[in-house]
């Protein structure tokens, strides 16, 4: 759920707006390093994928369904800076064209989901990758742990912002406990979906997965000897 207008007071919104602008400037530079002149079309299409992916409903049972947030997943698939750029652009489009998330809360939403969500997801992913053996098989589990933690951490940062600039007289401990425990549950679903999606992409096209590059490089190049002379080249079309 996106933060709407009027949830946090104006000074907090402006401050998070400044944080978001700074983070976006960093992400722009980082994404150019990751993608060079492919940045605009590639980040554009990955952002579109994240947006469309958020529309896919995962049934939870009893008629309810949830959807992916995709911060950690985008970081593992496309690289952390590109992912920050993509998620922020998705939030920008959602706020400007669909009124999903307030226009004055845009900085808050970008900070929480674009910067904190993606950043925490990527750092946890890197930490878990450092512990697990450097194989393709450990990419999806590490991505899942990243997703599992990124959602409640973003919720915790929101509670912090709420304690500073919240507009409802609800005690900040209550908000913290409710937000973090509820988002821990969401994090479990997010981790499951992230695991399944990343595993399916790693299974088919590991070369596209940014987080799997070190594992791919670790593969030894296999040089096979020349084909046996018994099969003349003319016979194979």
């Amino acid at each position: 759920m996106h933060v709407p207008d009027g949830f946090l007071d104006a000074p907090t919104s402006i401050a998070t707006g400044a944080v978001a602008a700074g983070g976006l400037a960093l992400a722009l530079r980082g994404a150019r390093r990751e993608l060079d002149d492919r940045t605009a079309p590639m980040a554009g299409l990955v952002a579109t994928f994240v947006f469309a992916g958020q529309m896919m409903n995962f049934p939870v049972g009893a008629g309810t369904s949830g959807h992916l947030l995709g911060g950690a997943m985008a970081a593992v698939l496309a690289g952390p800076w590109t992912a920050m750029l993509c998620i922020s652009t998705v939030l920008l489009v959602q706020a400007l064209f669909m009124a999903d998330g307030g226009i004055t809360a845009l900085g808050t939403n970008i900070t929480l989901m674009g910067l904190v969500g993606v950043g925490v997801g990527w750092l946890v992913f890197r930490a878990v990758r450092a512990v697990l053996p450097d194989r393709l098989g450990s990419v999806a589990p590490a991505a899942a742990v990243g997703a599992l933690l990124s959602v409640p951490v973003a919720a915790a940062v929101f509670s912090l912002l709420f304690a500073v600039g919240g507009t409802a007289p609800v005690s900040s401990e209550k908000v913290f406990v409710a937000m973090v425990s509820w988002h821990a549950v969401i994090g479990v679903g997010e981790a499951l979906i992230t695991f399944l999606v990343v595993a399916s992409v790693v299974g088919v096209r590991p070369d596209l997965v940014y987080g799997a590059r070190s594992a791919l490089r670790a593969r030894a190049l296999e040089i096979r000897g020349p084909a046996p002379a018994a099969i003349p080249a003319a016979e194979t079309p």
């Binding site: 949830f7 554009g44 004055t104 499951l192």
Partner: protein, 239 residues
């Protein structure tokens, strides 16, 4: 595959609001919402004034109220949350309709609903009366980094293409007898998402190559905005 040129995000029209330059509308929207957010929630008549102002603008734009009303459903989850606030908030309790609720909580819930709804209404009025391409031109004029504007442009251009691709995947899945109704189907859905990522990524690579073939050097050629400034409107009048 050639989808994505419809008026899905805005309501086509020719009112004064439609013709106003996009960058002015963007600045007005942000300024207006900052004022709304900073208004103390006890000033009830002021909020009524804001609402009347917005409704007047919607009427002026001749966008049907039903169109905006339907799209305002996006704030439903937030409204549900706001309803909870009076029950969990601190402070002296009052009894309303036989329920004991917190008095400051009730006021806070009103503030959340009023400011949130005004924000949604204002943003939707802006979105309904502005062509997405004009919004991009406006953002560029407001010194938004060019790369972000380009990414937004690609996103708007391929939104319908990629969502239609996902729709075809779901149709294919259903026609093969898989109707996702329980968490047991998550692996199937997730594999579709994985396939969608690969297709989107490869489409991005093809788009990039096609752009290079047309001389892309990091900046997009500025497309002439239909209504950018008073000067252009004046030019149009002479034709």
């Amino acid at each position: 595959m050639g989808a994505g040129h419809g008026h899905r995000l805005h309501y086509h029209g020719h009112s004064v609001l439609h013709r106003a330059p996009a960058h002015l509308k963007l600045v007005t929207l942000v300024t207006f919402m900052l004022v709304v957010v900073s208004t103390p929630r006890g000033w009830f008549p002021v909020f009524a004034g804001y609402l009347l102002l917005l409704l007047g603008l919607v009427a002026l734009s001749r966008v049907p109220f039903g169109y905006i009303g339907k799209r305002m459903l996006v704030e439903t989850p937030f409204l549900l949350f706001a309803v909870l606030v009076p029950f969990i908030a601190a402070g002296p309790r009052v009894v309303v309709l036989g329920l004991s609720v917190s008095e400051p909580g009730l006021l806070a819930a009103w503030g959340l609903v009023a400011k949130g709804s005004l924000g949604v209404l204002a943003s939707l009025t802006m979105a309904a009366t502005t062509d997405p391409q004009d919004v991009l031109t406006g953002l560029r004029r407001l010194r938004m980094p060019d790369l972000i504007v380009q990414i937004m442009g690609f996103m708007l251009r391929y939104l319908d293409v990629v969502s239609a691709e996902m729709g075809r995947m779901m149709t294919a899945m259903r026609s093969r007898g898989c109707d996702p109704r329980s968490p047991r189907h998550w692996p199937v859905l997730a594999r579709s998402l994985g396939a969608l990522f690969i297709r989107s990524y490869e489409r991005g690579e093809r788009v990039h190559l096609a752009m290079l073939a047309r001389g892309y050097d990091g900046t997009l050629p500025a497309s002439s905005p239909r209504v950018a400034s008073g000067a252009r409107v004046g030019q149009g009048a002479h034709r």
